[in-house]
């Protein structure tokens, strides 16, 4: 049973078995990931790419093997297309400052969507302040789906870049990114996809998508916190200036000038999160061993079950009912503030997220301050969904 692979799931909270439904905030890690991190520190601890000694060689091999595992997971042409980053936030900021910034003139436009996480809004607002560019937004409808009717206007000769979330962390909407990329490319607009919530649930093929950049968050896909990768097309990465200056990203330094290392080292200044990268590689291997299709199929079953179960709760309203969804449910219950629901069901061992989920514009659209969010992973069970529903009914009983 795959659930057994995740040690943190097996505990009691407030005297009840833990029901962990906060996977969109951070997923649990399987033992193989924990072991990979521990194994590095216990047996191979050394800095990478710079020592002639045995441990440094082993650590370097493990780190680069991890890059290879990530490349296979998202079908990148080569491991050299991947830059290790701290997560999607760093990936977006890196692309904004090293790829997009030099392409912008005052009045140019950057296109995002209404479904973005703050991490795919704020870096672009900063860039707009720096350059005089404008931020444009693809609107959404009541179902939490993007409205593509006005794309021809939104993608115009001033549009210099588009960055769109693949799967909404707040509503679960799976966006039609392949279609968006094709439309953008028809107008020579490069595209970045924020894949934080996609790689844990879906088969991602960056070559099939033909995106220019794709960000992966490690801790959302069963890897360590503070780990992630940024995929970029080789021609872009070669042409981009470095993001951070420092060690490792240079080939020669004098006081007069420095020359930069080749990709991906050019973007990896300083000693990286070595253990995190190795652990993320183990997470990618774990997912490929389980099978992304098997994960997606199991989560489809769970999503349908959860949707029906939540619908049975009177006075419960699900926000976001997109046709294509991952197993994420934002919901409200009449007369009970989300924060109270979160506290009460925690008493029954159920962990959900409450608030705006770093997507304030989505909740401004729905004119509510936030929601409860239950986000599932393949290791959740139908029984856990039943406990969620029972605990929600307990919360309702308390407030009536």
């Amino acid at each position: 049973m795959l659930r057994e692979a995740f040690p943190c799931l097996h505990q009691q909270v407030n005297g009840k078995p833990l029901v962990y439904l906060d996977n969109a905030a951070t997923a649990m890690r399987p033992q193989v990931v924990i072991d990979a991190v521990s194994d590095y520190y216990c047996h191979h601890n050394a800095n990478i790419h710079r020592g002639v000694h045995c441990l440094s060689g082993r650590a370097t091999d493990l780190y680069e093997q991890a890059r290879g595992s990530l490349a296979r997971l998202i079908n990148a042409p080569s491991p050299d297309n991947l830059i290790f980053v701290r997560g999607c936030t760093e990936g977006v900021n890196l692309v904004a400052q090293t790829f997009v910034r030099e392409r912008l003139q005052p009045g140019d436009e950057i296109l995002i969507s209404h479904l973005e996480h703050h991490s795919n809004i704020v870096p672009w607002q900063i860039l707009c302040q720096q350059t005089g560019a404008k931020l444009k937004v693809i609107p959404m409808n009541d179902r939490g789906e993007l409205v593509l009717d006005e794309l021809d206007t939104l993608m115009n000769e001033r549009t210099k870049f588009m960055s769109v979330i693949h799967v909404s962390n707040a509503l679960g909407t799976i966006n039609p990114v392949k279609e968006l990329i094709a439309k953008a490319h028809a107008k020579d607009i490069p595209v970045m996809i924020d894949g934080a919530q996609a790689t844990p649930h879906l088969k991602v093929d960056v070559q099939e998508l033909d995106c220019d950049f794709y960000t992966v968050s490690g801790h959302k896909m069963y890897g360590p916190t503070g780990s992630g990768v940024l995929y970029g097309k080789a021609t872009h990465l070669d042409a981009m200036p470095p993001y951070h200056g420092g060690g490792e990203m240079i080939s020669k330094v004098t006081f007069e000038a420095s020359t930069y290392n080749k990709v991906p080292a050019k973007f990896e200044a300083g000693t990286p999160n070595i253990a995190g990268g190795i652990g993320l590689g183990a997470a990618a291997e774990f997912m490929m061993d389980v099978g992304i299709d098997a994960i997606a199929a199991r989560e489809d079953v769970l999503r349908n079950y959860t949707e029906q179960a939540l619908t049975s709760v009177q006075g419960l309203r699900i926000l976001g009912q997109a046709k294509h969804k991952s197993p994420v449910f934002s919901f409200l219950i009449d007369g009970i503030h989300p924060h109270d629901i979160g506290t009460i069901i925690d008493h029954y061992g159920v962990a959900i997220r409450t608030g705006h989920h770093c997507t304030m514009p989505i909740f401004q659209y729905f004119d509510v301050p936030g929601s409860c969010r239950a986000s599932l992973a393949f290791y959740n069970t139908e029984q856990e969904v039943d406990i969620l529903v029972e605990s929600l009914n307990q919360a309702k009983a308390m407030f009536t």
Binding site: H337, P338, H339, D340, T343, I344, T354, H356, P369, F399
Partner: protein, 148 residues
């Protein structure tokens, strides 16, 4: 009684359901907004202060039950008090919510002391405190307050 039932005790649920002094009054002299954006609590505090005495205290906003009940009880407690007394009550309530605790809380804070059970839920203390920080901001002429 479980900790959860102590948190959502009858007084809290009752004040949440039927908040006292709720809604923006026609006349007020002092106002501040308390906003905890991350958890979604928002409390507007409206005061009418004459000669250093709070003649009336109202609140409005969309908040969790803990925040609503705290604000409702607070407006009852501070009505008729001087601003000086009110600032002392604010300090006492903060002490009640701290690890130190407040001796003789029932005597000092009246029914507001029943919120001591919130301390067992550290993530909710900021909900209980929000209205008090907004009250303090209103007295000092500051437009906003937060406890996040």
């Amino acid at each position: 009684m479980s900790d959860l039932n102590k948190l959502y005790k009858q007084q809290v649920l009752e004040h949440n359901k039927n908040p006292r002094n709720y809604g923006e009054p026609d006349h007020w002299t002092h106002h501040a907004e308390g906003l905890n954006a991350i958890c979604g609590d928002q409390v507007h505090v409206y005061l009418t202060i004459e000669n250093g005495v709070i003649i009336s205290a109202h609140f409005a906003g969309d908040s969790c039950a803990i925040s609503m009940a705290s604000a409702s009880m607070m407006t009852e407690l501070v009505t008729g008090k001087t601003t000086f007394e009110t600032l002392h009550l604010f300090a006492s309530f903060k002490q009640l919510m701290s690890a130190e605790g407040l001796p003789d809380a029932d005597h000092v804070l009246g029914s507001v002391a029943c919120l001591e059970s919130v301390k067992k839920f550290p993530s909710r203390i900021k909900s209980a405190l929000l209205c008090w920080y907004a009250l303090n901001a209103a007295i000092y002429g500051q437009p906003t307050a937060t406890t996040e």
